[in-house]
């Protein structure tokens, strides 16, 4: 049982090393005593016996060392000894240690937070069964407009989905879902609220492999128009129903209609979004007619792959079906192709690019931090040159010396890393909360993998920061230090060259970061100041939707809207009120395909004219400040039967009525009305979203009864001052007309625009923060290097001054010395940026990647900061007292 004895020895050596050491001492002294006793017995005097015994014994210290060399865990013991020694050294120079630790903590903290988010959003598997086998299937139109971001994956129409499911066999199953919204009203006078909901086919949850926490999912028989069952998500279950399991089986009121709760979804299910509070069957919100439409797109389709059938094979089957549909309905917007996308890409599409950009920025910052610490370590190494030289001369191996120096950088990085991880805990929570666009389908948490990543980062940083200084400070040139006398003026030129190189690289990377930040900031400012096309100052917006149950006739809807408008216009502090379906800069809203009666018919297969559809009350355009270019606005007479009028935007006029007067012509929107709509006016363009080009828009009169499936309205109230202060009076007026009606998205126009460019704002802010930090680090590094240089050259400068050099000349000399690496670094950084900015081109809005203003500004800023950092040491050098300098060692 040799292994057992060996194991026992190893454990003993690990835990009772001190006892073993004492044992060794006792053993050796026992031997010595026996030898002395033998010598005494042989007839020597006590002193002679002792000396003779010691002579044969040899060097006890060496003997002890040799015996101990055979013990196990020797490596660990020497490592711990190095660590203790390093800790003592670091404690003795607190400024250096604290600065280095702080730098590393910031860099590793930032990197860890970002990695946590990247992991949850991009890398972690979704909480479904076999998520690798799930794929989203979208439609794809052929046409140039369909190849840009946002349009290349087109949502699916219900009829297409049903045809795909029935006619293809490539996928195991396909399910569909679409966004919806309900007014959730209380049973016992609780406040009504608007809940974001989703409608999914009966096989949606089984396909994903999601088991309900309570109750059950939908059955096939419940997936029909008019169905009244609902499933709640865990968040609304806890929040509104106090986690009471008895809600399952009871009824809640959605849009005034009683619906039975059949199940509660598990806590960690947050697909597609954490805002979804309720799920209803897919067909329950549709009419039998709308399910047969091939041209009303709004659904997302998820398909599960069969392991034996490849994705291409399955998709080609679907494509064949889709193309057949397209050929069958050539005059309707039916897509030709099908585009699949992995479900994880689907969830992360909005934040993937910004996240990758931020990871690169953090990597740059980490590099700069490590270079800074390396610079500091090189400076320390210079101070210890003689010590290292003596140890080398006495026989220390180079690897031992390098290892000891690496221990120092390892300790700094370890402590910095621990502090950084603590920092990142708060930073991650703040980031996840503040960045609204992040898909939080799994919850963003710091767990084992993230800690492992932080450890790996610590090692990488320690190596990066420590290896170069360690190797350079233990080379052959070090022995020259032993011969260096105090009178030499050369100093150690190789060390200064190394420090200057490190600084140049540091400044170069900083310049890249600064330029990226500058470009992003400019793009963001451009976004923020884009002219939306209407007044956005002091405008309060909110939305509400009138439930079909209570407002079943268009007259009721018109009556509500009319009285609301009258009441609101009478409120003090209200300058104007606009009521419509979707306001400018709010979102896509909806679009319709149309034809122009007076124009020749579109040949089958050609691209169909398409425009956004909007409702507008007669005073809409004046209230929002949208100019009238031709014709007239709507009047109160344009309603009901006389409501077959339309106002078009300038873009529509330019695109589809080139060179002719559109007034008096007729548009045929088959989605709305079979009869033609007369064009009565042309108004100015508005943006449907900041950052996207304007799109042709057509406005229908609010009171024409021309509604779609949902009766959702948006209100814009232009106030005299303080739009948010008006929110309560406005809501009171709405409640006065219908106390059961909840209102959602109460925001000022500025807040709406700010929310829609959240991604850009975030990226720009964070990269700017990283760049500013890097600039600070680089300037501190520059200051340190120049001080060091000046100290090295102190005797030389003293001699120069003594020989008659003027202060200004010395100042110039010092500044030139310090600015040279800065300028080199700037040049290198500009060159690197020229390559790097092309990568962020897709994230810039109305900003050229090679913007000369940004490049020039960054160069000027860097030179200014560098000059400021060099000034103090240069000034000190010029004020040097030559006698002092020459006397100093």
């Amino acid at each position: 049982m040799r292994w057992f004895d060996q194991l026992r020895m190893r454990v003993l050596m690990l835990f009772s090393r001190r006892r073993a050491t004492r044992g060794l001492d006792d053993e050796l002294s026992f031997h010595l005593d026996r030898q002395i006793a033998e010598n005494l017995a042989a007839g020597m005097t006590p002193d002679e016996a002792r000396y003779s015994a010691l002579r044969t014994f040899g060097n006890p210290g060496l003997l002890r060392e040799r015996s101990r060399a055979s013990w196990s865990w020797n490596g660990l013991e020497s490592f711990l000894r190095d660590l203790r020694y390093t800790a003592r050294t670091l404690r003795r120079s607190p400024t250096f240690s604290l600065m280095a630790i702080l730098v590393i903590a910031l860099c590793i903290g930032a990197a860890t937070s970002l990695f946590t988010i990247v992991r949850s959003v991009l890398l972690k598997p979704l909480p479904f069964r076999d998520p690798g086998q799930l794929v989203m299937v979208y439609e794809h139109f052929r046409g140039d407009w369909a190849n840009q971001d946002g349009f290349n994956y087109n949502v699916v129409s219900p009829a297409d989905y049903y045809d795909w499911r029935a006619q293809t066999h490539g996928f195991k199953d396909m399910a569909a879902w679409r966004w919806w919204q309900f007014n959730l009203t209380g049973e016992r006078d609780e406040l009504p609220e608007v809940v974001t909901a989703a409608a999914g086919t009966w096989n949606f949850f089984p396909l994903l492999g999601v088991q309900p926490a309570l109750g059950r999912t939908f059955t096939e028989s419940e997936d029909h128009p008019g169905s009244d069952v609902v499933m709640l998500t865990w968040s609304v279950f806890e929040r509104r129903f106090a986690g009471d399991p008895s809600i399952v089986g009871r009824q809640i009121h959605l849009d005034g209609r009683p619906c039975t709760v059949v199940g509660i979804l598990p806590r960690d299910f947050a697909y597609p979004d954490a805002t979804v509070q309720a799920w209803v069957p897919y067909q329950s919100i549709a009419t039998p007619e709308s399910l047969r439409h091939h041209d009303w797109h709004g659904s997302h389709v998820i398909a599960r792959l069969v392991p034996t059938v490849s994705l291409d094979n399955a998709i080609s089957q679907v494509e064949a079906v889709q193309y057949r549909e397209h050929m069958q309905y050539l005059n309707a917007p039916v897509a030709e192709d099908v585009a699949p996308r992995a479900i994880s890409d689907d969830l992360a599409k909005d934040v993937k690019k910004p996240l990758i950009l931020l990871m690169c920025a953090v990597a740059c910052m980490l590099l700069i931090g490590c270079l800074n610490v390396a610079n500091l370590l090189v400076a320390r190494g210079a101070a210890r040159q003689k010590e290292v030289a003596i140890r080398g001369a006495l026989g220390a191996q180079r690897s031992t010396l390098v290892r000891e120096q690496l221990t120092e950088s390892l300790l700094i990085c370890f402590v910095g890393g621990a502090a950084g991880v603590l920092l990142s805990l708060t930073a991650t929570r703040w980031l996840a909360h503040a960045w609204k666009d992040l898909p939080s389908a799994q919850g963003i948490r710091v767990d084992g993998v993230v800690l492992g990543f932080a450890c790996a980062l610590v090692f990488v940083a320690a190596l990066l920061a420590g290896l170069l200084p360690a190797i350079s400070s233990t080379g052959k040139a070090v022995f020259a230090a032993l011969q260096a006398s105090s009178r030499t003026t050369g100093g150690s030129l190789s060390r200064t060259a190394l420090r200057k190189t490190l600084l140049t690289v540091e400044i170069g990377v900083t310049v890249v970061l600064l330029i990226a930040a500058g470009l992003l900031l400019k793009s963001f400012v451009r976004l923020r100041t884009t002219d939306v096309g209407c007044t956005t100052d002091s405008v309060l917006t909110m939305s509400y939707s009138l439930p079909k149950e209570k407002y079943d006739k268009p007259e009721k809807v018109n009556a509500f809207n009319e009285s609301l408008l009258t009441r609101l216009r009478a409120l003090p502090g209200v300058r104007a009120v606009a009521l419509g379906s979707t306001l400018p800069a709010n979102s896509w809203g909806g679009d319709d395909v149309f034809t122009i009666s007076e124009h020749p018919p579109i040949r089958p297969g050609a691209e169909l004219p398409d425009a956004l559809n909007r409702l507008a009350d007669p005073a809409y355009f004046t209230a929002l400040g949208i100019p009238l270019l031709q014709g007239r606005f709507f009047t109160m007479q344009d309603r009901d039967d006389h409501g077959k009028k339309v106002i078009i935007s300038n873009q529509l006029a330019r695109q589809y009525f080139p060179g002719e007067n559109p007034i008096g012509k007729h548009l045929l929107d088959s989605a709305r009305d079979k009869a033609g709509l007369e064009v009565v006016g042309v108004v100015g363009d508005t943006l449907w979203q900041v950052g996207q080009p304007t799109k042709a828009t057509m406005y229908f009169p609010l009171f024409s009864g021309n509604f779609e499936n949902s009766f959702g309205f948006s209100l814009a109230v232009r106030t005299a001052s303080g739009p948010l202060a008006m929110s309560v009076p406005v809501q009171k007026q709405i409640a006065g007309l219908d106390p059961q009606l909840p209102v959602s998205d109460v925001l000022t126009f500025d807040q709406v625009i700010g929310g829609s460019i959240g991604n850009a704002s975030f990226s720009a802010t964070l990269v700017l923060a990283f760049a500013a930090l890097s600039l600070l680090l680089a300037s501190v590094g520059l200051y340190g290097v120049l001080s060091y240089l000046m100290t090295q050259r102190m005797t030389e400068i003293g001699i120069r001054i003594a020989l008659g050099a003027r202060r200004e000349q010395v100042l110039r000399l010092a500044l030139a010395d310090g600015l040279r690496p800065a300028i080199l670094g700037l040049a290198f950084g500009l060159a690197a940026s020229a390559a790097a900015v092309r990568l962020i081109q897709s994230m810039l809005y109305k900003t050229e990647p090679f913007d000369p203003a940004v490049f020039a500004l960054v160069a000027a800023a860097l030179l200014l900061v560098a000059a400021a950092a060099c000034l103090v040491p240069a000034w000190r050098a010029s004020r040097l007292d030559p006698m002092q300098a020459l006397r100093t060692e």
Partner: protein
Amino acid sequence: MGKPSDLVQGTLDLLILKTLLPDAMHGWAIAKRIQQLSGEVLQVQQGSLYPALHRLEQQGWIKAKWAESETGRQAKFYSLTLAGRTQLEKETANWNRLSAAINLVVSEA
């Protein structure tokens, strides 16, 4: 054989293992016994004895125990383990083979 460096490391191990075969002894006794058994030819120096003893202990061929010695003082007694016995046989066979081969070469005319 006065200089300990002449002894190949493995040979010292073999001697120690053989000496410990009958019963447990402390370091001093092992040195004395080897000296005695070899007819005063082999004098093991402390400089090589104790490192060898500690190495053998770490490798599990011998195990140690503190006990009272013949003089009344506490001493560290080493004894052979089972694995040690096997190792001793192996090393003895090795040594025999090696020495026979050397003898063959040296006694060649």
